[in-house]
């Protein structure tokens, strides 16, 4: 006997993610999923982003790492609740893990929830976590060939930050090639150039994020 079905294999994940999205929407919390390879500068970027944003907005962070809690400690600032999830070997966060992490938060007291995914340019982009947008960081020291080598993640990104642009003179990284390659995969993506260690280089992105925060609030 044969049975024809259309059964999404990640149905379990997607159903949880949909429920999470409903909870985020209900409270008008803007959520983004931050993805990059290890060492691209996710945590340094978040440290300075949070410094900028926490004056005006209430921020929560869920940090995914295979082991250790160093990132959550780095991101725990006054007024910022940061929760570390250890995936114990898994290369990505899934919606079930986010649901567990959320038990530490009161969504009615948040404006932004940041999900810092496990450092990996391949797997995290396949697991929807209920986020409003996916933010990908590509750093200069990884090389300008990475978008073409890991197109899946750039294909699904809503926004890309090119980090460590101050190191360009010391490498053979071509900003033009990197941008053209990203846009050839995903022509509608927003690209920002940043130096995560320098707060002032994040202002354009902060303005972009503030627009999104207001948009999300209005939807409630």
């Amino acid at each position: 006997m044969k049975v024809k079905v259309v059964y999404p294999i990640l149905k379990g994940n997607d159903e949880i993610a949909k429920q999470l999205k409903e909870r985020f929407d209900e409270h008008g919390v803007l959520v983004f999923n931050l993805i990059s390879s290890p060492g691209a500068g996710k945590t340094t970027f978040l440290e300075n982003l949070i410094k900028n944003l926490s004056r005006f907005y209430r921020i929560g962070v869920i940090v995914g790492d295979i082991e250790d809690t160093v990132d959550a400690e780095r991101l725990s600032k006054p007024g910022v609740l940061s929760v570390q999830l250890n995936t114990k070997g898994a290369c990505h966060l899934d919606a079930g893990m986010i649901r567990e992490g959320l038990s530490f938060f009161d969504l009615s007291k948040l404006d932004v929830l940041i999900i810092e995914n496990v450092g990996n340019l391949v797997c995290p982009s396949d697991f929807y976590l209920g986020e409003d947008f996916k933010l990908v960081i590509l750093s200069v020291t990884e090389g300008d060939d990475k978008p073409k080598k890991y197109p899946g993640t750039f294909f699904k990104a809503d926004c890309v930050l090119i980090n460590k642009t101050d190191l360009i003179p010391y490498t053979n990284f071509s900003l033009e090639k990197a941008k053209n390659d990203i846009l050839s995969i995903n022509p509608k993506v927003r690209i920002f150039e940043i130096q995560a260690t320098k707060e002032e280089t994040l202002f354009d992105f902060v303005r972009f994020l503030e627009e999104k925060i207001r948009w999300k609030k209005k939807k409630v």
Binding site: M1, V5, I9, N13, C91, F155
Partner: protein, 115 residues
């Protein structure tokens, strides 16, 4: 290597369908879209390990699906290659993806079980 978690989800999905359809699966067809980010060889390897571990007798077949999209400029379906959101004919960037992102169980074959 998220294919390991995808493989675990596949087995769970098979068990769910078995229960619903009152069937004992012996052959399962999985469709894998080019844009799903899943590597069929890795998924197949992970599935074979789980099957062995759990003593299941199921063979898996995979159907690969290209990414297709509707181009409003050309007014027709086009196939996208190399994971790129641009129409290869007219370079239009406003495309609607119609296929190729799926990761589904498509068909299950097996003996029906009572109860």
């Amino acid at each position: 290597m998220h294919e390991a978690s995808v493989a675990l989800s596949t087995i769970e999905a098979v068990k769910d369908i078995e229960k619903r359809e009152k069937i004992k699966a012996s052959r399962v067809i999985v469709e894998v879209g080019e844009g799903s980010g899943v590597n069929i060889d890795a998924l197949s390897f992970c599935l074979s390990s789980i099957i062995k571990e759990e003593g299941l007798n199921i063979s898996f077949e995979f159907v690969k699906k290209d990414i297709t999209a509707f181009c409003s400029e050309c007014n027709k379906e086009i196939t996208l290659t190399n994971l790129s959101y641009i129409c290869p004919v007219c370079k239009n960037i406003s495309l609607n993806i119609t296929e190729g992102m799926e990761l589904n169980i498509k068909e299950i074959e097996g003996e029906s079980v009572e109860g």
